[in-house]
């Protein structure tokens, strides 16, 4: 006999308020989200059907991008709604428990981690910043002060003209193209470093995510920085303004700002803090 499966979204403080969520927030599979309380904490959860969320079916479903997206968006919707009224510590996607008893057990076992994270993250938001190397010729198109790269290949149709090239011309041209490409990437990486160092200096914490794969993002420009920054709420707008300012200064690079997010990327304690505490 199994109890109903419960999908967990995140943990908030149990303030004693009747409900930490605005009414009508629906979770994964359209289930009603409620708070299950235990020892000063509350986990936001909703019932999910066993035919999708038992371990076996779940394993199979995770290979279905459309299904994964539905779950991911529902997860974010609930975390967002909770984040709009207070501090929320998201749990990993597809954390599933058996019944309310299972949810309380999770709060009991994770109690120190949850309370620690709530203390650290209260009043903070996360901003996402991505930097892309622009396409060929973007330096000129950006209208910035940077001159067009000397080695930039000319746009005319390569196929027709390459037939008329001698082997040596062809090689020379390939070398120039490769050099231009390397210079472009070098510039992109220098720009990304400048962006990251500047923003990390303004943020409480920073975290680098792996650069996004164009096959998943659908973006053809190369992603050279994919970072998250933890910022106190009162500095949030100033931080975003600073990102826009940086973006305007960097010719040939594209800077993208996302957020503010709930502090997904910072729920684990800062390794530096842990090291300090241990010493």
């Amino acid at each position: 006999m199994t109890r109903e499966l419960e999908y967990a979204y995140g943990v908030v403080r149990d303030t004693g308020a009747p409900d930490p969520l605005p009414p009508g927030v629906l979770g994964v599979a359209g289930g009603p989200v409620r708070a299950v309380r235990h020892r000063g904490l509350a986990v936001l959860a909703s019932p999910v059907p066993a035919e999708e969320f038992e371990e076996g079916p779940l394993r199979a479903r995770l290979e279905d991008l459309a299904w994964l997206e539905e779950v991911a968006r529902a997860h974010q919707r609930v975390v967002n709604a909770a984040g709009a009224v207070g501090c929320v510590v998201p749990v990993g996607m597809a954390t599933v428990c058996r019944g309310e008893e299972g949810l309380r057990r999770m709060l009991e076992e994770g109690h120190p981690r949850f309370t620690g994270a709530l203390d650290r993250l209260e009043g903070r938001v996360e901003w996402g910043v991505k930097v892309y190397a622009g396409p060929v010729g973007a330096e000129a198109a950006a209208g910035g002060p940077a001159p067009a790269p000397a080695g930039a290949p000319s746009p005319p149709p390569a196929k027709a003209s390459s037939r008329g090239l001698s082997g040596r011309d062809y090689l020379r041209r390939r070398t120039a193209q490769r050099r231009a490409q390397e210079q472009r990437w070098q510039r992109a990486e220098d720009g990304a470093r400048l962006v990251h160092e500047t923003l990390a200096g303004l943020a409480e914490r920073a975290r680098l995510h792996p650069p996004q794969d164009g096959r998943l993002s659908g973006v053809t420009d190369r992603n050279v920085l994919n970072a998250a920054y933890l910022v106190p709420h009162e500095h949030s707008e100033g931080f975003a303004a600073r990102v826009r300012e940086l973006a305007d200064r960097l010719a040939g690079l594209r800077v993208e700002l996302t957020g503010p997010w709930a502090p997904y990327s910072f729920v684990a304690p800062d390794p530096a803090d842990r090291a300090r505490a241990a010493s």
Partner: protein, 78 residues
């Protein structure tokens, strides 16, 4: 065939400029960066380790393998 990547913004997400988490519609890939690499490490009653799941889709496998190489898996051993 649905095209979830371009689905409409969620109407229940906070959009008021005064909301601390005001959101534009977010790209799935940005969301997955956070959901797969973030979140408190807890093990629910069902053990799920996304990194272990044999993801058929090459695009997802690329994302997830890059995640698991760089950060500890959020789905730790029970």
């Amino acid at each position: 065939m649905t095209t979830p990547a371009t689905s409409a913004p969620d109407p229940t997400s906070p959009t008021s400029p005064t909301s601390p988490l005001a959101q534009r519609p977010v790209a799935l890939v940005d969301l997955l960066d956070r959901l797969l690499a973030g979140g408190v490490v807890v093990v629910g009653d069902l053990t799920l380790r996304i990194a272990d799941v044999d993801l058929v889709r090459i695009d997802l496998r690329a994302l997830i393998s890059s995640v698991s190489e760089n950060v500890p898996s959020p789905w730790e051993e029970p």
